[in-house]
Symmetry: C2
Subunit: 169 residues, 2 copies
């Protein structure tokens, strides 16, 4: 699952390697939306207000970095591609949860809505970082985590599951 | 402690606000080095191989975002400034630990050294995300965390403490 694309240099520091892939505002916003189920070009474009060429370049970069994989689908008579998280992509969830925690604590948002919450869907409590839920004690699987984004919806968004990979190269 | 600089927009999503500040490769690399005690312009420049004007722009942006604060010091006859982490800056540690974990798991590094480890200095074991050490059970304070970067040193680097803030504006 290691990244082989040319955009990633084999520096010794894993934070440096992660920064090569994630040190880009648009890539972070695209991946944030992918985490809650966005997969299609048109929807990324509409939700992010990003120019076609910029979005296309970022998606290609994230495919090259093995964070996304391209899956064909039929749209009327045409074949298009959706961008599905690989296991490496899905494993970015703790990074995004940490960014959410930091952003909540140390940046000031619009005052128009309740703040984002990261919920344990099994017991309904707010989750802190770590493997176990501090409220119910269960080991927390990714599919038990929901992002509540009250400025969008009163229902928490489920975290997207990675596409199944079938070995091969 | 909320960010008031013009570089940060008051969007509702805390991940979006964090991405405004952290979605930049150089800023991540500068902050990574600040986490382990780098504070001075010349040392950031030497360790990162970054151009003066780029480094200067990034440092200014991170001061504006209230992640760094500028502290004067005397260098021979001159007054210079060092860049010290604020509490908001120091609280980025879980983000960097998550980036390190992901980079270790999903990117391939140079094969010239043992990989980075995040250690609990009290008991010497590898730390996983979360408030408590899975080995010794203690609640882990930031000052008990060390980053072992074997390609640089066989001794773990202590995590930098934030500068003390004295209220006022």
């Amino acid at each position: 699952m290691a990244v082989r694309g040319s955009s990633q240099r084999a520096v010794a520091c894993p934070i440096g390697r992660a920064a090569d892939i994630l040190g880009d505002r648009w890539s972070l916003l695209i991946l944030r939306n992918a985490m809650i189920g966005v997969t299609r070009f048109d929807r990324f474009r509409a939700e992010l207000g990003i120019a076609d060429n910029v979005l296309s370049a970022r998606l290609n970069r994230l495919v090259e970095a093995d964070v996304f994989t391209r899956i064909p689908y039929r749209d009327g008579g045409r074949t298009r591609h959706e961008y599905r998280l690989t296991q490496a992509g899905a494993d970015l969830l703790p990074v995004f949860n940490a960014l959410a925690g930091w952003g909540l604590r140390h940046t000031r948002g619009a005052d128009t809505a309740e703040p984002m919450r990261i919920l344990h869907s099994v017991c309904g409590s707010d989750l802190q970082p770590g493997e176990h839920c501090a409220t119910c004690g269960r080991r927390v699987a990714a599919e038990e985590i929901g992002w509540l984004r009250p400025w969008k919806s009163n229902e928490p968004c489920a975290i997207a599951e990675p596409v199944e990979e079938h070995g091969g190269s």
